[in-house]
Amino acid sequence: MSAIYRNLLGGRSGLIGLAILAGLILLVLPALLDIFRLNLVGKYLTYAFVAVGLVLCWGYGGILSLGQGVFFGLGGYCMAMFLKLEASDPQSTAIQTTPGIPDFMDWNQITALPWFWEPFNNLGFTLLAVLVVPTVFAYLIGLAMFKRRVGGVYFAIITQVIAAIVTILIVGQQGYTGGINGITDLKTLGGWDIRTDSAKYILYYVNALLLLGCILIGRYITTSKFGRLLLAMRDKEDRVRFSGYDVADFKIFVFCVGALFSAIGGAMFTLQVGFMSPSFVGIVPSIEMVIYTAVGGRLSLLGAVYGTLLVNAGKTAFSESFPELWLFLMGGLFIAVVMFFPNGLAGIYEKYIQPYLSLRYFRKRTPSAPPPATAKRSASSSGGLTPSALPGATGRVMKNQES
């Protein structure tokens, strides 16, 4: 029991941080926003899955992937294929040359459902495919890259190229994928209309709970020996290798976890927004997702969620009034964060707000006894001002090692 408390919830401080986030997305936002805005928040939260995965890959593992949109897209497309087949029953597609297949196939003179679409008639298969297809794809990329010790900038470039290739493939194979428009006009999930307000509420909550689940898994990974090994690898890869670890296996695993999280986000995106298109797969969305993580703090699982919400809220607010300025602003934001706040919002919180809060509110309370080494290290690295409450951080205060 105490192990669960410590590793999954991150002790008292981690629990408070998680409770605040859960309260915000499960209670506060649904109470304050109408369903249109809440659905928008739900859409942003699907990006947060990617950002949480990037905290593990990039923040802890030092693996910067500029192609997470691929996994987001694969998850989303798998979901969309099922929904599209359900929406394309012979009655509603009766005016087509070939009734019973998705409309875009009919427009592209395809007369039979392609073989790889067939299994997506089955919901069980679809849900499995959402999880498995992107993870296996990430595994193959990881195997090809990390076993050959490709890393750093080269890995970033290659993932970016993969994002470009997948986008071009989807756009080019219009008859099979829906092309540039994506897969649209999605209506029901097993007969349940996903376009109604009540469905949107339910999907919002499912999405939020899944996100919290991913954060818990992330917590478990980062507080385990695996998490310490990732940090050790980022610092001294050779020392880890010559301590008997197959470094590539660890990188492949964390990259797969990042892909899996992204895929869940992608599938939830399709369900909540009602379509999937290549514009969420390519280079630009992939880099935007890295920016969410950087703004939130790349060593903070909770920070990644706040970063995603904040940047997207800003994007919505600004792009409504100054659409052409937004991209420059976003680029500027990224540069500013990397240069001045390498640990993002979580870093700002830990450095400025937390010491203040701890002096004010937590001075008299004694913290529950945490595991010895970890707790004492965070104390020494933040100059003895470590409070007992650490929302926004994973309970691990790290100095930023690399640029």
């Binding site: 020996k225 610092d235 020392r239 020494s380």
Partner: protein, 247 residues
């Protein structure tokens, strides 16, 4: 003829980088319980020799056998798991982690992905970490961030990170570089203690230190063995004096 009686037998080992032979047809045999010191001028191939044994560099030709097992074809982590530990020239520790965590990460359990996810800090791990910390004079610094240790203490910590794996062959590249006189004495004592029941290969430039610890000395020069034997014998060798000790 096989030389399986030796802990380590290196035969005809050659590595060539674009035609330059950093190690050239080298033969080297190390016994159990032996502490061997490898000396030689800069560029003699000392560090390359350790790189070859631990798998960091792949040999062009020749064989390296450890307890009769061929190492040249193994992956680095498999070489480590079969019992070979190597300390790098500059202290290579995890600066962000505590001394305790540095040692814990090196503890040989949970070395696979899922093993590391399931790893628990059980009492036997804590006990072993404390035992090793005692041995490397860092028992009072377990909770300290490793990056804050002095240079000499970092060297000890890295040695400790190897000891916790109980390797049968321990290779140390300049273990006393940057240490004070007092720290050198303690290290000499440590090395004499740890070579029991295993083999230790040390690369070192400090001749006083070599004299204090070495059972046998191997002198390398331009990738080849120049001389081998007791410190006294090697020091008297005119060729060694000319290329290395003379100045």
């Amino acid at each position: 003829m096989t030389n399986n009686d030796f802990m380590l037998s290196v035969e005809d080992l050659t590595v060539s980088f674009d035609g330059f032979k950093a190690v050239d047809a080298l033969n080297l045999y190390v016994d159990r319980n032996e502490l061997r010191v490898v000396i030689g001028p800069n560029g003699a191939g000392k560090t390359t020799l350790l790189d070859l044994i631990c798998g960091k560099t792949k040999a062009t030709a020749g064989s390296i056998r450890f307890k009769g097992k061929e190492l040249t074809k193994l992956a680095e982590h498999d070489i480590v798991r079969s019992g070979v530990g190597r300390k790098f020239q500059t202290p290579s520790i995890y600066e962000n982690l505590s001394v305790f965590e540095n040692l814990e990460i090196s503890f040989p359990r949970g070395r696979g992905v899922f093993g590391s996810l399931a790893f628990r800090r059980t009492p036997d791990v804590v006990e072993r970490v404390q035992g090793v910390a005692e041995e490397i004079f860092l028992a009072d610094h377990l909770d300290m961030e490793a990056g804050l240790l002095s240079h000499g203490q970092k060297q000890w910590l890295e040695i400790g990170m190897l000891l916790i794996q109980s390797p049968e062959l321990l290779m140390l590249d300049e273990p006393v570089a940057g240490m004070s006189v007092k720290e050198r004495e303690l290290t000499a004592e440590l090395l004499r203690r740890i070579c029991l029941n295993r083999s230790v290969i040390v690369i070192e430039h400090d001749m006083d230190f070599v004299q204090r610890i070495a059972h046998k000395v191997t002198v390398l020069h331009q990738g080849k063995m120049l001389a081998e034997g007791s410190m006294k014998k090697v020091q008297a060798d005119p060729r060694v004096i000319e290329v290395y000790l003379g100045h």
